[in-house]
Point group: C2
Chain length 394, copies 2
């Protein structure tokens, strides 16, 4: 039983487990193995930086889940999961990064012992941390089982947030606002990028009042000038320049719940093309927010944005948003719905997204984004409350 207080109520964990079991039944899955740390945490409360070794949660139809992982991490599991201590199973250290042994041999043995050696076993085939080798070992060790692709089965149960989850996301949003305020206050020509990142981490982790901050699933990104065309480069020790734009992509994180938020800053007098892009983007965001309402398709948000941008002569396509919530590195997205034309998912109240119409041109970039909550009626609510504009500092 957990030594620390569980983040959510028993009723909440019960509800989650019931949803997952129903989804398993719909795919005729007898037992489900999930390795995604976000899914593990959402379902059981497990929280630790141990996903660099094989671990997971086994979900049954008729008994409580089992946390399975490395022996030294079982200590962390009994401290964080809602299940009884005897629902924590582990393997010894000689299986770690061994050329001869693989942890999945022990998972397969557990499956056989419990009578699932010839059953339909669901696996997250497309997931960080569930390697090709893990699959091949299970296949070899469980020749009579049917291995079913259960990619994102749990993730899809996470799309609509409960009231308890929304409380956490609002706390994360306060942290996001604090980070952005700190950036605007401190950024200036001559400041070293890594020194600003140090302050960003300070704000992110100190949090707001008693709501402490955690590590975000993606590090702060803040490319400047032509480097802003490359959205995922990380910082270095160079100094901010007068006369150039920098976009800041950050997220506040509270109890693993993320609220990403991006704003762009220009140091000096911005060029006309950037002001025009800002105007187009602000209008596009407004149109997208109007389309982000319960009953609409996810693709309509993208279409509304792209149509608006096109009026300003900006051709944008692809993905401009993704669901957010509980997450671990390397990504704070939920990897289910996408804001893109071809996504026909119907939006529901309680869904949360990062509406992320970043413009990455060949030699400049502009990011002004909003994390949003789909409401019962009307346009989406923005979780953060800061001006939706290009920030200019002279």
């Amino acid at each position: 039983m957990p030594a620390t207080q569980l983040p959510f109520s028993t009723a909440e964990y019960d509800r989650r487990l019931a949803k997952v079991r129903a989804a398993m039944a719909a795919k005729e899955i007898d037992v489900l193995f999930i390795e995604d740390p976000s899914n593990m945490a959402w379902l059981t409360g497990y929280d630790g930086w141990s996903f660099y070794v094989h671990q997971g949660v086994i979900v049954f139809h008729d008994e409580d889940p089992i946390w399975w992982g490395r022996a030294q991490d079982a200590n962390g599991a009994v401290r964080t999961v809602w299940m009884a201590d005897e629902r924590v199973a582990s393997y010894t250290d000689n299986y770690i990064q061994s050329p001869k042994l693989h942890p999945m041999e022990t998972l397969a043995a557990l499956m056989r012992e419990r009578g699932y050696g010839g059953k339909r076993i669901g696996l997250e085939l497309e997931n960080y941390y569930f390697s090709a080798k893990a699959y091949l070992v299970l296949k070899d060790e469980l020749p009579d089982a049917s291995l079913i692709d259960a990619t994102a089965l749990v993730n899809w149960q996470r799309t609509v947030k409960s009231d308890e989850e929304i409380v956490f996301m609002r706390r994360a949003a306060r942290i996001s606002e604090k980070i952005v305020d700190g950036i605007m206050e401190r950024v200036e020509p001559g400041l070293k990028k890594n020194d600003l990142v140090a302050e960003i981490y300070g704000d992110a982790i100190r949090g707001v009042d008693d709501d402490w901050g955690e590590y975000p699933a993606i590090v702060p990104l803040l490319p400047s000038g032509s480097d802003a065309a490359a959205p995922h480069l990380t910082w270095d020790g160079r100094r901010f320049d007068e006369g150039s734009a920098t976009f800041f992509e950050i997220a506040g994180c509270y109890r693993r719940y993320h609220v990403p938020f991006c704003r762009t800053v220009f140091l000096g007098t911005p060029p006309q093309y950037l002001l025009e892009a800002e105007k187009a983007l602000a209008e596009g965001l407004e149109e997208g927010l109007e389309a982000a309402r319960a009953g609409n398709r996810a693709g309509q948000v993208a279409d509304a944005l792209y149509k608006s941008l096109e009026k300003a002569g900006i051709k944008r396509e692809g993905r401009c948003g993704y669901p957010i919530g509980i997450s671990y590195p390397p990504d704070w997205g939920e990897r289910t719905i996408s804001f893109r034309t071809e996504d026909d998912t119907i939006l529901e109240p309680g869904m949360t997204f990062h509406f992320m119409p970043g413009l990455w041109m060949s030699d400049w970039g502009l990011e002004i984004t909003e994390s949003i909550l789909i409401r019962d009626t009307g346009a989406a609510e923005c979780l953060c409350n800061r001006p939706r504009k290009l920030f200019v500092k002279n």
Copy 2:
């Protein structure tokens, strides 16, 4: 061509590529696909937080490598890799987290176009980010190819560090020392854990003089009291208590090179069992460092430590060290050699390890560790220079 200066010389990249090609030849691999971000960076210079989507480097015997990944990250690739711009290939955004399309379809097409559809293709089957699904798609799309397990093939080429790399690791070590000094200065009863973590990140990322710090591949870990039995729990907002021990597991990171370093702090007067464990651990470390010399087996380091601990009545087994160097989340280890009895790898000058004999008991933990460099002769050199003891603060 890179917009920023490459971290290493051309000769260094040439040497690395030659080593990898020789290892490919030894396994009769015609073409190698690597998805491990550490291997990608080590071989090409690529550096970005984009490993949450499929990407990789394709290594040929007779032409320069190709960076392959998402279109928006190709902008980052041309800015960071040593290869010419035309050696950067990409796929469009509709392949991202799509239920219908998979990026590996485009990699398979590239392999076929270049004449490797029926060849021996090496893959990192046991690796973060190379999913089971990625393997299954490649297998399906390349029915005439032989897919060869090339797990850790590149990692093994990284074990012996060049002089250029050792310069980076010494810089990372200065950052590690700064972090530990900051912890010792600031930790006290009543301080909130997250507030101390904010300072740790500050020191880590500000770096030392002009050597800016980067995000470590593992977040700072600092469990206290009985929670220290669980080595991978992350921080929360609770306050440090008088009368309890906390271990700090941190790493300075310079240009993605890590030097992990752990020390334990007791606030108040430590109990006798902890002082005895400290003494035993310090002696065991000394014995292990003596055994960590060129020509010895990796297992001898573990044996020396365990034999020494046993004299003090402490039974320790399993792994007590791993190679370190360039890395990305979720792990700062190189995943090749292990300090454990059964590892017969011969130590060579230039190898670097985190010698990590953490003691995680049922209700307390003690970590005093050293990152080490195997020398030409004599015992290993410790990269950090701080007292090897339990820190006590009254």
